[in-house]
């Protein structure tokens, strides 16, 4: 029974992290039909920005809980800066060309950003453990957990909920849904497509950076952290169905729980659980759990 509880809690925490790093990828794919390989780099930039802001803030000796605001500010700043720059500066040139080509373009951006972070932040690690330490431990079912894990859960839930509200309950969201279903018709009805694209891409970038910023206190921020993230995020999004927000949530939950179960019951498989889940889901449902089958044009 207690193992089950531990697996549930671990799985949920890992799932919320997975959701945070992958939902932006799915959002961008849903609207722009581009798989953003540079998503992992945006994550890394968010992590670096968050870590360096927290370090600077703590050295200033200011109100300690303010470090959480610093993480949020870092995510917003890096996402809002890099997202529109990348969309307007690079992707804008590739609309209407083959998807594979767009994939290569985002891969180039990934390469550029990977070195840009090294040039800006150097190669030595950053430690921003203060927010993590601040919250201390929580006891759940006789096991101690870092309270920060639950903060992560809250952040994931808040971003998921906020996104749901934005897409389903606001005017902007309705426009986005219209663009997802039929870009040409939306333009004919007066939607400013390029504005929707910039806004969506910026939002996706902020979500990636948010994932990075809130991951920073749990790890040592070093070059190369973004590389793994894109592979994980893609696996999650594919399991759920590319472009589906509910899919990202369900995919994250599924992978998170299966991985937690593997960690506790079959540690050898831990590394492969994500890919096993992905392969299993794809064998049964090639479009992912929530994906739509698309008509093929002759």
């Amino acid at each position: 029974m207690s193992t089950l509880l531990v697996i549930g809690v671990d799985g949920l925490v890992f799932a919320s992290w997975l959701f945070l790093v992958s939902v932006g990828l799915s959002l961008i794919y849903g609207v722009l039909r581009i798989l953003n390989v540079a998503h992992g780099s945006l994550f890394a930039v968010g992590a670096y920005a968050g870590a360096s802001l927290v370090v600077a803030y703590t050295q200033g000796g200011l109100w300690p809980p303010g470090t959480f605001l610093m993480l949020l500010a870092a995510a917003l700043a890096s996402g809002l800066l890099l997202g529109p720059a990348m969309e307007r500066g690079v992707l804008w040139w590739t609309y209407g060309r083959e998807p594979v080509l767009q994939l290569l373009v985002t891969f180039s951006v990934f390469l550029i950003l990977e070195d840009a972070t090294k040039l800006v932040w150097g190669v030595s690690p950053y430690y921003a453990y203060q927010p993590y330490q601040l919250l201390g431990q929580v006891r759940v079912g006789g096991v101690d957990y870092p309270a920060y894990s639950f903060l992560l859960l809250a952040v994931a839930a808040a971003s998921g909920g906020g996104l749901w509200w934005l897409i389903r309950r606001t005017r902007f969201g309705r426009v986005v849904v219209a663009v997802i279903h039929d870009p040409e018709m939306s333009v004919a009805l007066g939607v400013n497509l390029s504005r929707v694209y910039v806004a969506t891409f910026a939002l996706g970038a902020v979500l990636a950076a948010l994932g990075g910023a809130f991951t920073a206190p749990m790890i040592s921020v070093v070059p190369g952290i973004g590389v793994e993230v894109i592979v994980l995020a893609f696996a999650v999004v594919v399991v759920g169905g590319l472009g589906s927000l509910e899919g990202a949530a369900v995919g994250a939950l599924l992978i998170g729980l299966v991985r937690a179960a593997a960690v506790h019951l079959l540690p050898v498989l831990e590394l492969f659980t994500i890919y096993l889940v992905m392969a299993a889901v794809l064998l049964v449902r090639p479009m992912g759990l929530f994906g739509r089958v698309e008509a093929r044009r002759i």
Partner: protein, 314 residues
């Protein structure tokens, strides 16, 4: 193959054969590495000919290299002419299994699925420390060619000529493939898959077969790389290795056989200098170069030359 391409190919082969004796040894070593990688790049280009971008060729690259490594250490098999088919065979068998899954997918899905699978192999290689030596990899002794065993620099020269011969043979084979009905079918799948299906051919089967061909090529490249470097490590299967192969294919252009090979040589030369002078800005330059090529010379660096020839021929 036009008559002009054939002339260029023969000239390149002759020059490279001479280069082995004339150039300084470090440069010959670099060229051998470039040719080995050129085969892997060619395997990416073959897939691109069918409209597929694989971000996971590292799977075959590493699997074949490790197969050669195990054979050398476990069975004391040192004959390169046996190791090459062994590596290619392992890659093809692996491709036959993996292909069952990935041949159903196209575009982004194909790219990312192949990527994920190569990362699975990376995980296995890292984790199975007892067998693979973990992230340290395994050391590979110098091979023999037709029983001929040399040491030191001469051994490297031998591997260079082996790489040159294999690359030339593969280049010829791939150009024959491109001119065959099967090659045209792959091209047709790229252009319009639904029409191919309506004409009675199976797109999935074509993709599957093309995938096997590319696995074999990439496996050969992997074995040659292992013999060249004398060492294999899990990095061969890491997705950035595969990404590099895609990059070189785009750089050289995928429309021809010579493009990817020339791209590999140019890339390897530039890389050795860029690594030395700009270790932290090197990937950035790569990325910027790739962006510029994709946006302005979508056919690759070789394509303007081809266009010029075509204009002259007309």
């Amino acid at each position: 193959m036009t008559h002009r391409t054939r002339a260029v190919a023969w000239a390149a082969l002759g020059l490279l054969a001479l280069a082995g004796t004339l150039l300084p040894r470090w440069l010959v070593f670099l060229l051998a590495l470039a040719l080995a990688k050129g085969l892997a790049v060619l395997s990416v280009a073959v897939l691109m000919g069918a409209g597929l971008v694989s971000f996971g060729q590292g799977l075959f690259f590493a699997a074949a290299a490790y197969a050669a490594g195990f054979a050398m250490r476990g069975w004391a098999l040192r004959e390169a002419l046996l190791l090459l088919p062994l590596g290619a065979g392992v890659a093809v068998v692996l491709g036959a299994v993996v292909g069952l899954l990935v041949a159903r997918y196209r575009d982004i899905f194909f790219a990312m699925l192949t990527l994920a699978l190569s990362m699975v192999l990376y995980g296995v290689l890292i984790k199975a420390y007892a067998v693979t030596g973990g992230s340290d990899g395994i050391r590979i002794p110098a091979p023999t060619v037709l029983g001929l065993q040399l040491s030191g620099d001469d051994a490297r020269l031998l591997v260079y000529y082996l790489a040159l011969a294999s690359t030339a043979a593969c280049a010829w084979a791939v150009s024959r493939y491109g001119a065959s009905g099967f090659g045209y079918l792959a091209q047709a799948v790229r252009d319009n898959e639904v029409r191919v299906a309506y004409l009675g051919a199976s797109p999935n089967r074509t993709v599957y077969a093309t995938y096997l061909l590319s696995a074999a090529l990439c496996g050969l490249g992997g074995v040659l790389t292992a013999l060249n470097v004398g060492h294999v490590d899990p990095g061969l299967s890491y997705w950035t290795t595969s990404g590099e192969l895609v990059f070189v294919a785009v750089l050289g252009g995928t429309g021809s056989v010579l493009g990817p090979l020339a791209g590999a040589v140019v890339y390897e030369l530039i890389r050795s200098y860029a690594f030395k002078y700009a270790p932290y800005a090197w990937q950035m330059m790569l990325g910027a170069a790739m962006l510029l090529i994709i946006l302005f010379i979508p056919g690759g660096l070789w394509s303007p030359v081809q266009r010029l020839w075509r204009r002259q021929a007309a």
